[in-house]
């Protein structure tokens, strides 16, 4: 009894530490949201408290500006296309690597996995040349090939482990029925690995959606900018009016934040699945 009481007391320290950190996390977000409802001048009085009069015009201006919606649409297209291709290509390769066991497959597996430890940014100078040669410079289509290459190592890592864990009897039964390898992939493997596909997509969602580097070096054309690259432009344009900048930041942060809050446990599992099994 005494021992358990002592342990409960120790948890009090943990709660104090974790509540403090939670406040350190939430305080900037509070600041972000409430100040986006102020104006250019009222943002200077009571910076960390709610506005005296709520001002919605920042949001109206940003959305009416038109560019913001274009940026948003571009990001949406780039990220969805990249995620679709990454999960599809990674699942095909992982299926082969899990089922086809020889030296070549082993070498391929290590070749892919090595990419998890090498940041692709280092290759940017050559990538810039390559994208220019392919005629993709200054279009949103410069981005998906690179994101796909960037996402494949983790995808293959997660999916190969998952497919290897499927019971052998599944394949045996299907082979006796005369199913082709493609039918086995489509009808048996794909439905069963859905959780791993979700992990792959979620793991890559944040780096793709939040990437600034590649849009910055590839895209100069206003109509082709992604959301974050657009935010840097709007930041320059509205710099004298921080309340409007904060409205832009709030609008840009909301999509991933809502998605995360709606499915936080899958998110956390997805992001940690790159290195920890389970």
């Amino acid at each position: 009894m005494q021992a358990s009481l002592k342990r409960a007391n120790k948890h009090i320290v943990s709660h104090i530490v974790l509540v403090t950190w939670s406040l350190i996390v939430l305080f900037p977000l509070w600041t972000l949201v409430i100040n986006s409802f102020k104006t250019r001048l009222t943002i200077y009085d009571n910076p960390f408290w709610i506005p005296k009069t709520w001002n919605f015009s920042n949001y109206q201006t940003v959305i009416r500006d038109g560019d913001f919606l274009t940026y948003f649409k571009n990001s949406f297209i780039v990220v969805s296309a990249s995620l679709l291709l990454v999960t599809f290509f990674a699942s095909l390769a992982a299926y082969a690597l899990a089922r086809y066991k020889n030296r070549f497959a082993q070498a391929c597996y290590f070749f892919f996995i090595a990419g998890m430890m090498v940041p692709i940014k280092i290759a940017s100078i050559k990538l810039l040349e390559l994208i220019r040669a392919l005629g993709l410079l200054n279009t949103i289509w410069a981005l998906p090939p690179i994101y796909v290459a960037m996402g494949l190592p983790v995808g293959i890592f997660i999916l190969t482990a998952f497919i290897k864990d499927l019971p052998e009897e599944l394949y045996e039964a299907a082979l006796i029925d005369g199913s082709s390898s493609w039918n086995i992939y489509r009808q048996i493997v794909l439905p069963l690995v859905r959780p791993a596909l979700a992990s792959t997509a979620i793991y890559n969602l944040i780096p793709f959606w939040n990437d600034l580097w590649f849009p910055l070096i590839f895209i100069n054309e206003e109509k082709e900018k992604t959301l974050l690259l657009g935010v840097t432009r709007l930041f320059g344009q509205y710099q004298t009016d921080w309340s409007r900048v904060l409205a832009v930041l709030t609008l840009s942060a909301i999509p991933v934040l809502l998605l995360y809050l709606a499915m936080s446990s899958q998110f956390i599992k997805g992001v940690t699945s790159g290195s920890v099994k389970g």
Partner: protein, 302 residues
């Protein structure tokens, strides 16, 4: 026999899309950067072989070498702050979150992870405003914390630390969740046995938990190193690509961008050879640190 050969080809077909994309847009550009570091000129057609000329320039040109070593040093400071603060807090929070009788842990986990879902750019802009003494200074004075009224990002002594800590704030969720996942994998029997033997929380942690999660500690250290050696966005947002003030926040990532991609102000002509030389040195450094760390921590582990 024939059947066997078609069998090989079929598997190759499954591998083909991934192999092609990965080779063309990752492996090839990476390897070709090695070659480019021995050439000068931005146009592929008129490129000239210069041997180790770019490396020589990087280390002997007084201005360029000064910039390089300053960025190199800053990047190490940036990395070490992450290693200690981010991963130290991460493991502390993870231990707290995995106590079996801990309440509300899902709420805490969800909150800790929120900043990780934000773009670094958004975090950077937001903190840039919050750390601006003109904006928040009076508030800090009014709540009795006048020492917080300081131009954190304008002072060469504090700018790098401020930028690093904001970055830790952002990424803390990842090591925390990885440690949580690793700690949960430890068998309950083992921990109960330790409890019966009378081991306290501290003893259990250092003698049982920490050695068991060593592989994860290794992976997190490696990830921290790799990610921080190409950090760029946070400096771009909070100070600028020149690593203001006075290059105090200039990192390898921003230096690479200026020399290799955007072109150094005010001339604005990028030097692909010099940029590739910077990239190659970074790559070699990563390999020299990552491979031994993984070898040391992954034995018998994951």
């Amino acid at each position: 026999m024939r059947n066997h050969r078609t069998h090989h080809l079929v598997w190759l077909l499954y591998l083909a899309p991934a192999l092609i994309m990965y080779s063309l847009f990752m492996a090839y550009p990476l390897l070709d950067s090695l070659r480019l570091s021995f050439f000068t000129g931005n146009n592929p057609a008129t490129r000239v072989y210069v041997g180790f000329g770019n490396f020589e320039k990087l280390f002997t040109d007084p201005q360029i070498s000064q910039r390089y070593w300053s960025a190199f040093f800053n990047t190490w400071v940036f990395f070490l702050i992450h290693l200690v603060v981010q991963n130290g807090l991460g493991i502390l929070f993870a231990v707290m979150l995995t106590f079996d009788t801990m309440k509300a842990r899902h709420v805490y986990q969800t909150i800790i992870f929120i900043p990780t879902t934000f773009a670094v750019l958004i975090t950077g802009y937001l903190w840039k405003l919050m750390l601006n003494p003109v904006w928040s200074g009076d508030f800090f004075v009014s709540i009795g914390l006048p020492f917080l009224r300081h131009p954190w990002l304008g002072d060469t002594k504090t700018a790098l630390i401020a930028v690093s800590l904001v970055s830790c704030w952002q990424w803390l969720g990842i090591p925390t969740m990885m440690f949580v996942a690793a700690l949960r994998n430890i068998s309950v029997e083992l921990l109960e046995a330790a409890l019966l033997e009378g081991a306290g929380n501290c003893k259990t942690f250092f003698l049982i938990k920490l050695p068991l999660i060593k592989p994860v500690v290794g992976i997190i250290a490696v990830l921290t190193f790799v990610n921080n050696f190409n950090a760029f966005d946070i400096v771009f947002a909070m100070t600028n690509v020149n690593g203001a003030p006075e290059y105090a926040t200039d990192l390898i990532g921003t230096l690479f961008y200026r020399y290799g991609i955007a072109g150094q102000h005010p001339i604005g002509i990028p030097d692909a050879g010099l940029g590739s030389a910077i990239a190659v040195i970074t790559l070699l450094l990563l390999l020299c640190v990552v491979i031994p760390t993984l070898k040391k921590t992954q034995k018998g582990g994951a």
